[in-house]
């Protein structure tokens, strides 16, 4: 518990807080869970999903905990009958607006989980469907507007974290939706295909396309395997989502914000460039060329010997500086060290470079 001079009352208990904290943050630290849908620690609070409303003494209206700064002497109630009724009726309304059917897009749906936890009247009639989807030929990101609850996490992420603003809220009223300019496909916009919109989506309205094109159904059990992205040297942490039964990586997700250095973010390569893992064209044994130029399988010893002979041959014929070594940006620091050592100590040249150094 942070020691501080500031205190408020949370469900009757005194809780200390630091200046600048929101009621939501204070409650979370005190172990009082307040449901949220539009909140994301990386974004400015929007207060639009309304799930975090709490009672604050002296205010006639309930206030969004995510956007309400804690104040000295504030009396906050999160467990009152009013708050409970609010959560029930709000969630009932959200669910009435969700498409029928259990399919949750291979995503854990925060909305359905919340409804299970706080209760939503199951007998509210499903409403007439509204928002038809748009075809978008981009290979990675699928948007299904009927599942969208307009929490605007994706658009705010695209703006506030990525600085790209390829998507924004568009239209108004019940027709409100997420759109690019003129509803164009993402490939025809400034979108970098980082997939952050998928990651922040609480309902699976934004999802990966690639798992869907695989044969298995999208709602199968997936096991996360934490690993370090090796596309560059930043060291982003990511979770390979493995379908054990099929022994395949089905998608890549980022660990929750605030838990790793990449703070929940990934780039297009980390999130989507994983299909090489099980690709039929992937090399699994060394290959060497025969006299006629065709490739045949070889042992590591033979392949390495062939490479060493070739490199030495060049040095003997043309001098040691006829050789140059360029290591891949996918190499780790240790691997880069080894490459320069190979160049300098074995081949006696300073012609060594790393491709991401430009």
């Amino acid at each position: 518990m942070i020691q501080s001079r500031h205190q408020l009352s949370l469900n009757g208990a005194a809780v200390s807080f630091a200046a600048g904290e929101t009621v939501l943050a204070v409650a979370a630290r005190a172990g009082t869970a307040i449901p949220t849908l539009c909140h994301d620690s990386r974004l400015e609070p929007a207060g639009c999903c309304r799930s975090c409303l709490v009672e604050i003494e002296g205010r006639p209206r309930m206030a969004p905990a995510c956007a309400t700064p804690a104040a000295d002497g504030m009396v906050v109630a999160t467990a009152s009958e009013r708050v409970a009724r609010h959560r029930r009726t709000l969630l009932s309304m959200y669910l009435a607006d969700q498409p029928a059917g259990p399919e949750r897009g291979g995503h854990s749906c925060e909305l359905h989980a919340m409804a299970d936890e706080f209760g939503a009247a199951p007998d509210w009639p499903k409403m007439a469907p509204l928002r038809a989807g748009r075809a978008d030929p981009n290979p990675y990101i699928l948007f299904e507007p009927d599942k969208c609850i307009l929490c605007a996490r994706c658009t705010r992420y695209c703006d506030e974290v990525e600085g790209v603003s390829a998507i924004a809220l568009a239209k108004r009223g019940p027709a409100t939706t997420i759109s690019t300019a003129d509803g164009r496909g993402l490939l025809d916009t400034s979108c970098e295909l980082c997939g952050g919109c998928i990651d922040v989506c609480p309902t699976g309205a934004m999802t990966e396309k690639m798992p869907r094109t695989a044969a298995a159904p999208p709602e199968r059990e997936l096991e996360p395997v934490r690993t370090t992205c090796n596309y560059c040297g930043v060291g982003c942490q990511m979770d390979l989502n493995v379908d054990r039964a099929a022994n395949r990586v089905v998608k890549v997700t980022s660990p929750p914000p605030g838990t790793t250095t990449n703070d929940g973010n990934l780039c297009v390569k980390g999130r989507f460039a994983y299909d090489f893992i099980g690709h039929p064209d992937r090399l699994t044994t060394p290959l060497v060329r025969a006299q006629d130029g065709s490739l045949r399988e070889a042992s590591w010893d033979e392949a390495l010997q062939r490479a060493a002979d070739g490199l030495r041959g060049v040095a003997e014929r043309h001098g040691r500086d006829a050789l140059g070594f360029v290591s891949s940006s996918r190499c780790t620091g240790e691997e880069n060290y080894l490459v320069q050592k190979l160049a300098r100590a074995v081949f006696d040249t300073n012609n060594v470079h790393q491709c991401s150094a430009t």
């Binding site: 009726t89 959200y94 809220l169 239209k171 003129d182």
Partner: protein
Amino acid sequence: MDERQRAQVLGALQGAGGLTEDVAALVGTQTGVPEAEVYGAGSFFHLLDDTAVKLRMCTGLSCAMKGSRELLTAAQAAGLPAAECSCLAACDLAPAALREREVLPEFGSAELDAAGGDWHAVRPEQAAWCGAVDALPGELAMDLAGERDRSGDAFARAAELGAGAVIAEVDAAGLQGRGGAGFPAAFKWKAVRRETAETRYVVLNADEGEPGAFKDREVLLRRPDLVVEGLAIAAAAVGAREVWCYLGAESGGPWRSLPAEIDAAKGAGLYDGIAFHLHAAPGAYICGEETALLEALEGKRGMPRLKPPFPTQVGLWGRPTLIHNVETIACVPAIVRNSGAWFAGLGRTGPGTKLYCLSGHVARPGVYEAPLGVSLDELLEAAGGVVGELKAFSPGGASSGFLPASESGRPLDFKSLAEVGSMLGSAGIVVLNDAVNMAEAALIQLRFFEAESCGQCAPCRIGTRFLREALEEAQRPGDGEARRAALRHVADAAWQMNEGSICGLGQAAPLPLTSALKWFPEDFEA
């Protein structure tokens, strides 16, 4: 990106003729705003979004009761590019239509026939027009039928008094905001004046759009002098040098009268040091809500902000901002000239005179200036009575729900109406006779709120649609049991909308239905 550049977005979209293909990208390049955000802002406003629609029929309550839906069907059948739209602030001259940006009052089916399928030929010339105004006996704060006054005397008197004394007069007047909430004006003047920021703004809320209300239109058409002088007095009192007027783009007449009045005042050397800007509001009722209005002024989607902080602290471009309704501002010159006590004494159960709009089933629709707290009975007497038998009335626009005829003696002020779960709002009174089915009237109001919800928060975005679907279901012919069942979640949904919505639109949206169910349950049975 420069904030003033972003503020150009909506104007640039209008200049480009609306949101046709690639316009978002173009305006994005001009303003430095990402094209998706330009598209998002433009598509929020129907006048910018649906560029193919050239003719719009108002489907607000007063116009709907005069057959505007049938007109719309006829227009579409005739092959005209027509669609419905929300209130055009011409309820007294119902039914109203909109041809591009021009409001056509008292529109008729003969004109559709005459157009022969060519929208250009739909009343091609609309002469300048205004509605009827009248007043109850007694002194008046605004006197809409009076002569314009371009002397600048009230402003000069305010300068003599000094800011503190002017605010004290406004305080003594007890002037309450005429935009709907009835909030004490002096409280906001003091709050803005107290702020330390060097730059502050005064904003005029002139985007009237509450079905039943058209008083701001008449003020702007007839007494723009009061508005301009009132704004100048307010700006000087709170220390603002810039005034922004957010004026409905479809308000043809006021777009001529207000700029002309500003030019005339400037030409006469009045209001030195105060710059007036005009901003065209491209069609969204929600942009009457003060923080949605600020967002639109800043070139963004008109989605209300969370409050607190209030605009007096964090307003236009984050600076302290005083926002007032046209009528509130129009009361200011008389208060300065005659004193606050004088103004307070004009009213009956509340301070001042008030503009009441009468439309619907009333003999002489129009704007009536009367002491705050008159009853509907008195207003009806002045307006030649009800057409038919009085059944119900909506005292303050769609947001005020309905009251039964038995309440027609109740003082029409902010407090007395709140006591019966209604509100004075914008004092847009719609009179309903006994030919009206209240379930149908409620449906018209629900459709309005659904169309005008900004869509930001779930209780309102989903709730307005939920209630409309429930009521439509309940009106389908069938057995009584099934019809009652269709309404079984209305109370919960209405509770949620009232408790959970961000702004007054969603909070008030269920009221037409819940009040109709309360006072006229039999209209839901038949």
